[in-house]
Amino acid sequence: MRPVLAVLRKDLRLELRTFETLPAMVLFSVSTFVIFHFALARSTISGQLAAGVLTVTLLFAALLGSGRLFVAEREQGGFDAFLLAPVDRTSLLLAKAAAMFLFLAVLEVVAVPAFALLLLGPSLGPRLPGLIAVLALADLALAVIGTLVSAIAIHTRARDMISPIIGLPLLLPALIATARAAAVVLAPHAAGTPPGRWLLILALYDVVFALLSYAVFDFLLED
Amino acid sequence: MTSVLAAAPALPLHTAGPYVAAAYIVFVALILIYVAIMARKLTRTQRELRELRRNLEVKEDPEPSVHETSQRSERAQERIA
């Protein structure tokens, strides 16, 4: 746990020092909401449409952020420095996924109210608890897959291309579940509670891919 | 899906025929394309093998005697036949 916290603290400190990732994610999300407003020619949306817009925006913002996750490690020798230390290799995965999860959470603290302000028809207040439950599980999926995929992509030539083309299909089941669950929450008239089976699918997806990533991550580091 | 299938009327044979034929032709065509690609690779392998043999012969025996050369061309002719 100690090395995980050390890496996580280092990552958060770096982000606070450089502001390379989070502000870009936030700006990207807000711009995307504006684009959706014009592309859909709607001033308010609700239900499945609202859920779709929110999910897709967060998905792409997450891919944007995960692309930067390992850049400092690769360009400034962080991988080597980490590998020289007598610590478990998977602690890097845990730390990066945790950092990604925190970035997503902060992003949503800004982006969800912005979404409610700019596009969402029904009021956000009563829908917030349900939405938080759905997004928390979705963020876990985005953090795990984002970390895994960007760890794969960081050593490829076309890393900016490789990580979204692998990440998008891999995230599709989670995306389906998130969009369907959020649709119920964001229903136009009465706010519904997110259906259990979608939360279950999301949780299952999180667990399976977290374990898988944990099992294979070592092989992405050794040389 | 039952309902979807049930809703779709059974196509008469003359309309259905081309579709079924198309599906099976796709299958056969893909196999043939695959065989063609493999054939090309096989030709390349054979050519490289021939080159390797030629190189080895030159390396082992830079000036082959007349006797050996004629033997080799005989072998080559056998191959062609």
């Binding site: 895994l148 794969i152 050593h155 490829t156 030539r157 076309a158 890393r159 291309m161 490789i162 692998i166 998008l168 299909p169 891999l170 599709l172 089941p173 389906i176 579940a177 369907r180 089976r197 699918i201 299952l204 997806y205 399976v208 891919f209 898988l212 294979v216 092989f219 992405l220 040389d223 | 039952t2 309902s3 979807v4 299938l5 049930a6 779709a8 059974a10 196509l11 044979l13 309309t15 259905a16 025929g17 579709y19 079924v20 198309a22 599906a23 099976y24 796709v26 299958f27 893909l30 196999i31 695959y34 493999m38 690779k41 096989l42 392998t45 490289e48 093998l49 390797l52 190189n55 080895l56």
Partner: protein, 241 residues
């Protein structure tokens, strides 16, 4: 060179099975009550799709072998398994599309969860070759490809569950993957077709590996016999080397 072994027998068995399957499809299996003649596509489309999916999972299992042993021959097996599955998958998508056009009037329908899941799986595995191609160091390429193959292999069943749920349980399905509710004669025909296509997959898998190994051996021979200089440098390639 062990991959060539048994290939001849396997090829004959494959040809015989596929011939038998085609004969059964067109001369033995009865016309479907609802669909009529068009249902014959089922006997080629579904086995192709099932074989492709199993091939993807198979590739993932072989990749586990690579990561466990570090032996690159497993990577070659895994690569060829996925490569073949991709070809079979494309055939499955095209035949499925033709079937959709014939019975529903559209080249693509979103109402069939199996078809949609299959498309997603194909989209994911379509990135396998570009991923390999963009990693130059052959060892890293093999390792990263194996990681991808394992994750993507596990993705296949999970994806099917998620998509199936997204479409809801409203419609009971006649054409389940196992062909469960088919009348006996149709079931038999389907089973023989499935075995035939699976055999075809195995044959081509073995054949492709044998061919690739032959080329590697040839290169090794050249190096041993003529020295390093006689080799043209390997171009960048998605295939194991």
């Amino acid at each position: 060179m062990s991959y060539g072994r048994g290939l001849r027998v396997l090829s004959f068995v494959t040809i015989a099975t596929i011939t038998l399957a085609l004969a059964l499809v067109f001369f033995y299996a009865p016309l479907d009550v609802n669909q009529g003649f068009i249902q014959k596509i089922f006997y080629i489309h579904v086995p192709l799709a099932i074989t492709a999916l199993c091939g993807f999972v198979f590739g993932g299992l072989l990749a586990i072998g690579h990561l466990r042993t570090g032996d690159r021959k497993w990577d070659l097996r895994s690569y060829v398994a996925i490569h073949m599955a991709l070809i079979f998958g494309v055939a499955g998508l095209i035949t499925g599309s033709i079937w959709a056009k014939a019975s529903w009037g559209h080249w693509w329908v979103w109402s069939d969860p199996t078809l949609v899941s299959f498309l997603i799986v194909m989209l994911l595995f379509a990135t396998y070759q570009p991923l390999r191609f963009s990693i130059e160091d052959p060892e890293r390429q093999a390792r990263y490809a194996s990681v991808f193959a394992i994750v993507a292999g596990a993705f296949v069943p999970l994806n099917f569950i998620a998509v199936r749920m997204a479409q809801g349980f409203v419609h009971p399905r006649v054409l389940t993957l196992t062909g469960g509710h088919l009348p006996g004669s149709m079931g038999l025909t389907f089973a023989i077709s499935l075995i035939g296509i699976a055999l075809l997959y195995t044959t081509l898998w073995k054949y492709e590996i044998a061919a690739k190994q032959a080329r590697m051996q040839l290169r090794r021979l050249r190096r041993a016999a003529l020295g390093e200089d006689a080799l043209r440098p390997l171009g960048r390639s998605a295939a194991p080397s």
